[in-house]
């Protein structure tokens, strides 16, 4: 019995040691080699795998609202216009266009753009009118992306490839920017009903929709009959992977070709891998703190300016974003827009000046008591941490600050229903790429009111000019300077979007957070 017991122990120990030895051999032999999936120059990429953080809410124009959908939908639905990498508007289905007056536009369509289903033949004016009529109306969730006059448009077919759009009031200089989110479906397909269209979207884009499995993947395949530029990818798969660590692991092991929202801390590891690289782009999204200007003490400009001077934006960028994930925000207009002044300095870090301004305000009877700063903890990269840092900076100039971070589902309803009485950290992504849009948006405007008439005139003037009009630069920079100097907000940071890209793919990101792969191709050696 004793001998048998001893031999079982020995056997057990031998098994354990054997497993450890095998693991050790693996450790030596299976060093990571990275992927070796280079596509020879001139050939296509068979399948591009892209990480998608969140599940899209819908693939139809009535229900999608955000970039989670827009950057996928663009591949199979052709809009009238879209943006190039510099943010300039260009025709997609539209070949030429003309603003006849502030309320009337003529748009001519490109010929030869076919829908994916041959039954629906060529994209023509009637399809555009039907799509605009169905999707660009107030009942659609996408309506938020459009200026109100555009939602009340009248569309008229002038000939097979020409339409006239008439708006009830001026202020639609940004029409083309708005219509970058107006996707075109076949008229006859729309008549089959929203359910059908939502389940199986058909468009005229460079890729055909294949499938959407919620919480798993979205798949599109190249459309041979596309009337636009040649596509070099046969198939795109968006894999839904919400966990950041998993996305990075998949990317480094070759399971993904592109990952968005790379954390700054991962950049050295990605750049050290011979098969991957990091692409950077200054984002169209910045972070600012809304100050409710109607509520004391924020009614006083000196207090608002003091709150700006107290924040060390450079330190925020260095410490939180490791110097690579953001740049200091120096004004209201997004730095990616041509209207932003590259020379603007914004508010420097000057705590002594901040204290002086506060003393002056108090000496003039302004009561600066406890300030409550709110920030979301689930909406923007490092939102909670930025709020904590700002609370610290404000305390450092002698203010009594309470910091509260909450989910956006709790905070944002108060913001949108104008019940906010305290400063709130918020982001703004300028998907229209229109300089004046940030000053027009409901909550930004409400909490900044009242604004002088001169400012409103600048906003109105800007809204009547087309993107690219040289007059916009002077108008916008003047407005930006006034707005910044008045410190309606505390200016924080502008994101630098970081993308991990496999070296077999030649692709650069866009500033508007949309991940379009329409010009991606195999990378030359």
């Amino acid at each position: 019995m004793m001998r048998r017991q001893g031999s079982v122990d020995v056997l057990f120990a031998a098994v354990v040691l054997g497993m450890l030895a095998i693991a050790g051999c693996w450790a030596h032999a299976a060093a990571p080699t990275g992927t070796s999936s280079r596509t020879p120059a001139g050939q296509r990429i068979q399948e591009l795998k892209v990480a998608q953080i969140g599940n899209p809410s819908a693939m139809d124009c009535w229900n999608f609202t955000a970039v989670d959908e827009g950057d996928i939908v663009r591949h199979f639905l052709e809009p009238l216009f879209d943006f190039d990498r510099d943010g300039a508007i260009r025709g997609a289905a539209a070949e030429s266009w003309e603003m006849k007056s502030p309320t009337e536009w003529i748009i001519r369509l490109r010929k030869g753009m076919k829908f994916h289903d041959p039954k629906y033949e060529e994209l023509k004016a009637e399809d555009v009118v039907a799509s605009l009529d169905s999707c660009v109306r107030e009942t659609s969730r996408l309506a938020i992306a459009f200026a109100k006059p555009i939602l009340k448009h009248q569309a008229e077919i002038l000939d097979e490839y020409t339409i006239r759009l008439t708006m009830p009031e001026p202020g639609t200089g940004g029409l083309l920017n708005n219509l970058a989110y107006a996707y075109i479906y076949p008229k006859k397909y729309l008549e089959l009903g929203k359910e059908q269209v939502a389940r199986r979207p058909i468009g005229a884009g460079p890729y055909k929709f294949v499938e959407w499995v919620p919480n798993q993947r979205i798949v599109v395949e190249r459309f041979e009959g596309y009337g636009g530029p040649e596509q070099f990818i046969d198939r795109i798969v968006w894999r839904i992977i919400p966990d950041a660590f998993t996305r990075e692991s998949e990317f480094l092991t070759g399971g993904l070709d592109v990952i968005p929202f790379v954390q700054p801390a991962w950049v050295p590891e990605i750049e050290a891998n011979p098969n991957t690289r990091v692409e950077r782009v200054v984002s169209g999204r910045h972070i600012h703190i809304i100050l409710p200007v109607q509520e004391p003490p924020f009614t006083d400009k000196r207090v608002r300016q003091a709150l700006n001077y107290a924040v060390n934006k450079k330190e925020l960028v260095e410490q939180l974003f490791l110097g690579i994930g953001a740049v200091p925000l120096t004004g209201a207009i997004h730095p990616i827009l041509p209207e932003a002044d590259p020379e603007r300095a914004g508010y420097s870090y000057d705590p002594e000046k901040a204290k002086l301004l506060l003393r002056e305000a108090r000496a003039n009877g302004v009561k600066v008591g406890k300030i409550t700063l709110y920030a979301p903890n689930d909406r923007y990269t490092l939102d909670k941490e930025m709020g904590e840092a700002v609370a610290g900076y404000w305390r450092a100039i002698g203010l009594d600050v309470e910091y509260i971070n909450q989910p956006r589902s709790v905070l944002f309803p108060n913001l949108f229903t104008f019940k906010l009485k305290d400063p709130l950290l918020i982001g703004f992504g300028n998907i229209r790429l229109r300089a004046e849009w940030i000053f027009e948006v409901g909550y930004n405007r409400h909490y900044a009111d009242p604004i002088p008439e001169e400012w409103q005139k600048l906003i109105d003037e800007l809204s009547r000019t087309i993107s690219g009009d040289p007059r916009r630069i002077e108008l916008a920079r003047k407005l930006d300077k006034l707005w910044t100097e008045d410190a309606k907000w505390v200016f924080m940071i502008n994101y630098v979007d970081l993308y991990g890209v496999n070296n077999r793919v030649d692709w650069q990101p866009y500033a508007i957070e949309n991940r379009y792969f329409l010009d991606a191709k195999p990378r030359k050696k």
Partner: protein, 304 residues
Amino acid sequence: MYQFVTQRLLQALATIIVVSIVVFLFVHASGDPAALLLPEQATPEDIANLRAQLGLDRPLYIQYLAFMKDFWRGEALKSFRYNLPALPLVLGALRWTLALVCGAMFISVVLAIPLGTLAALRRGSLVDVMIRVVAVFGQSMPSFWVAMLLMLFFAVRFRVLPVSGLGFKHAILPMATLAFFQVAVLLRLFRSEMLEVIHQDYIRTARSKGLREAIVVYRHAFKNAAIPVITMVGLQFAALVTGAVVTDPIFAWPGVGFLMVNSVFLKDYPVVVGAAIVAAVVVTMINLAVDILYGILDPRIRVS
């Protein structure tokens, strides 16, 4: 038996209704989904319009009754987020969860029972100590950490398994993560049950009759030691079906955990409440099955 099963089914129904009401109220108390479904540029009118569209402007009890009526009709109730019917979404996710959980429990039982037996029979020896140390580790380490370690080791460092995705090979790491804790729990339970049983008089009698040790252990001791463990397996199975909220998102496994976490953050009421109801059904049915099995295995329970 018939009376027992009927009684338990009625209890299960009451449990499911209570769960649905409680979860419904909690989810409504946690925030407004309309604000989340719209971009930040939405005006108060946009939010009000969406709330009306989704029926969120009705009294709570009306919303609840409408929800319960539509949910069980399958196609009628739609997810706020996905605009797809909620029940098929939940059932689709449940399919993946059950696949994972079955695999994890199989691994757990296959490892826990022999190791627990060995530890009990070699009580006090080096083998027993090593096995117990492994059990303590298994119970102490948080599952997200285990998941990340396994992923780093097997998928990133040694590339023997994929990081995430669907398929048999892809399921190994999430199954192993879930099994890690389960093995520890079952192992310790089986060891203590076995220790209690092998010191009983009838085992001493069997040994003194000259029966081989293997017969004594597996024919006589094992059956009695297994009964509480089987109960625990059932309870753990039920817990895993609803509790893989950490493992699912890490491995991008589209199970109920993944769906629930997403839906809670997005205030997708139909899916949250729907998933809670489906989970309550699964758990109560498993508990009922365990109770019936317990009665079958232990005649004393049957008689009482």
